[in-house]
């Protein structure tokens, strides 16, 4: 199986490399969409943040109650502090400092460090789970279209059943049963998120199957494998890229939502977990809930902008 996967990846990259002009053309078209470029720029920034950010930030798990609930730079809050010796409360103005540019949470952990390490979690989950869903969906879709008959029927009925489950409720059930570890969460999202992709790929492959070049390949004696991997899959690649870009935000949100309701991996600082802690301290430290949410929002927005831009670029009918 992995052999086969490696093969697809190699051939796809070959396909794109040998068509440099085509890639350039699509890039030109995507570039014309300003929002898509913004989306791409933000995603690159996020990847860099996740990869090398942790080298420059403080330890996201370091608890320091001396510096709890510090506001971000530029903000000042009033905090009442209890003095044990004199037994009275004093109000003190606490300004944000550059030591903690985004402030600290109720345990004195550095928000910037937590946000950066959360970016890593979100991207990992988003990319890996989407990858699993795409591979599974493509295999099922292409197989279904190519095999036809009872196999197609069985696969599509199974897809129907999986599609009837409301995505989030099924995720909650699976993660509840198997326990909240990041590996299971990624697997659960990947193994439930393939249905829409399988349907799209199937319908695309069905129409391709009757095209002359596929019939010609078969007439020349090409094996099923060859037809599927050399003719069907390369022709649905653009569709796959678009679906992948557009499904990543849903996956990132699903992980955040699971963490938010307490089904997240407690060993990592995911944006959803920070957000959940933030909701309980809205009165004392509003930024704990605001900051991870803004990151989540911008990430989803960026992927949506890019996905829409790619869709327009790949669509020969749209003139942008």
């Amino acid at each position: 199986m992995t052999e086969r996967l490696r093969d697809i990846v190699r051939r796809t990259s070959q396909h794109l490399r040998s068509n440099a002009r085509l890639v350039n053309y699509y890039w030109q078209r995507t570039q014309r969409n300003k929002l898509a470029v913004f989306g791409l720029a933000f995603i690159i920034f996020l990847i860099l943040l996740a990869l090398i950010g942790p080298l420059f930030t403080l330890d996201p798990t370091a608890v320091n109650f001396e510096e709890k609930n510090m506001p971000p730079v530029g903000f000042t809050i009033e905090q009442s502090i209890y003095n044990i010796k004199t037994n009275e409360f004093t109000t003190k103005e606490i300004p944000g400092t550059w030591k903690h540019p985004l402030g600290t949470d109720s345990k004195g952990r550095d928000m910037l460090a937590m946000i950066v390490s959360g970016a890593r979690v979100s991207l990992q989950v988003g990319l890996i789970a989407t990858g699993i869903a795409i591979i599974l969906g493509t295999i099922i879709g292409v197989l279904s279209a190519y095999l036809g008959g009872w196999a197609d029927n069985a696969l599509m009925r199974f897809t129907d059943v999986m599609m009837t489950f409301p995505f989030f409720l099924l995720l909650v059930l699976i993660v509840f049963i198997f326990g909240p570890s990041l590996v299971f969460i990624v697997l659960a999202i990947g193994l439930t998120g393939w249905t829409g992709i399988a349907r799209l790929i199937r319908s695309e492959a069905l129409s391709l199957r009757t095209r002359e070049f596929v019939i010609a390949a078969k007439a020349l004696g090409a094996s099923d494998n060859r037809v599927i991997f050399r003719h069907l899959i390369p022709n649905v690649i653009s569709l796959i890229i678009i679906i992948a870009t557009l499904s990543i935000p849903g996956v990132i949100l699903a992980e955040a939502a699971l963490s938010f309701i307490g089904l997240g991996d407690p060993t990592v600082s995911s944006w959803g977990i920070i957000l959940e802690a933030g909701q309980t301290s809205l009165n004392t430290a509003w930024w704990v809930a605001v900051e991870p949410g803004i990151m989540l929002f911008l990430t989803v927005l960026a992927f949506n902008f890019l996905g829409d831009g790619l869709r327009d670029a790949f669509d020969p009918k749209s003139n942008i």
Binding site: T164, G179, G262, L282
Partner: protein
Amino acid sequence: MGKSWLRDYIIKRLIYSVIIAWGILTITFVLVRVGPSSPADKYLANLAARGQDPAQVTAAIEARYGLDKPILVQYADYVANLFRGNLGWSFSTSMPVIELIKTHWIYSFQLILLSSLFAAFLGILIGIYSAVKQYTKVDYAFTFFSFIGISIPNFWLGIMLILIFSVRLGLFKTYYDTTLPLFSLDNLKALVLPVITLGTGMLAGYVRYTRSAMLDNLRKAFVTTARAKGLPERTVIGKHVFRNALLPLVTIIMFDLGSIVFGGAYLTEIIFGIPGLGQISFNAIFANDYPVVVAVTIIGTFLVLLINLMTDITYTYLDPRIRYD
């Protein structure tokens, strides 16, 4: 001819739905059984914590829940029980799961109904306006805001609304008041923030779908004909274009109800403390109350199945051109 094909079609759809329902039950059963801990284990942890002998308790639970029977018998029992409406026993609340659901479903229902109405009405209106004024500043503004509405995580939006309108401005309570009578103005006021939270994403989606469906139809020849006949623009847009754009919209709205809204409602209920099905499932997760978590998923899924079936049947009435053969 006549209506006989329609009857046949409905019967076919019903049989098909029963097969899907069976698939849903089977997948849920398999999931629960292959899980690393059986329902008994989670129950056991609770009882063992109260100082009872684990071995005795395990045997008692297994006999009580039929977990000592062969797996196929368990499976048959499970399916039969569900069809009788027996969803199991919730030990964290000490009542049958079905009773628990009967007392709480109305809270989810009112939230979902109000949010859907809010999103559909406003979304369709803005979508039509945007399509008619295509490429104007207003259209760009609506398109941009619909992008934001789609991308904003609804649980974060809920928290921000609480932060701004409840914590800072003090206009609303931070938590839903469960003592309010359901059909009262106060209850409606308490639901304002939750409805905006759940409705914004849907609203943005409907604006986009309505706009593109209207634009698709605006370019069709029958619109030119209608205009050439000298019909007023209001009639052209309202009767000719919108009627044709409505059908795909109905599908999308119904599909949303099934796949997205239940997840969104789950989170919205938790944020605002609305005691609906999402909230009882959420509480059950922390209490390790297996039957409740499973039941909420199954009920949600069955509702989706029912909605899909109804959509398909309404469709054949709405559009006489559609024939499923």
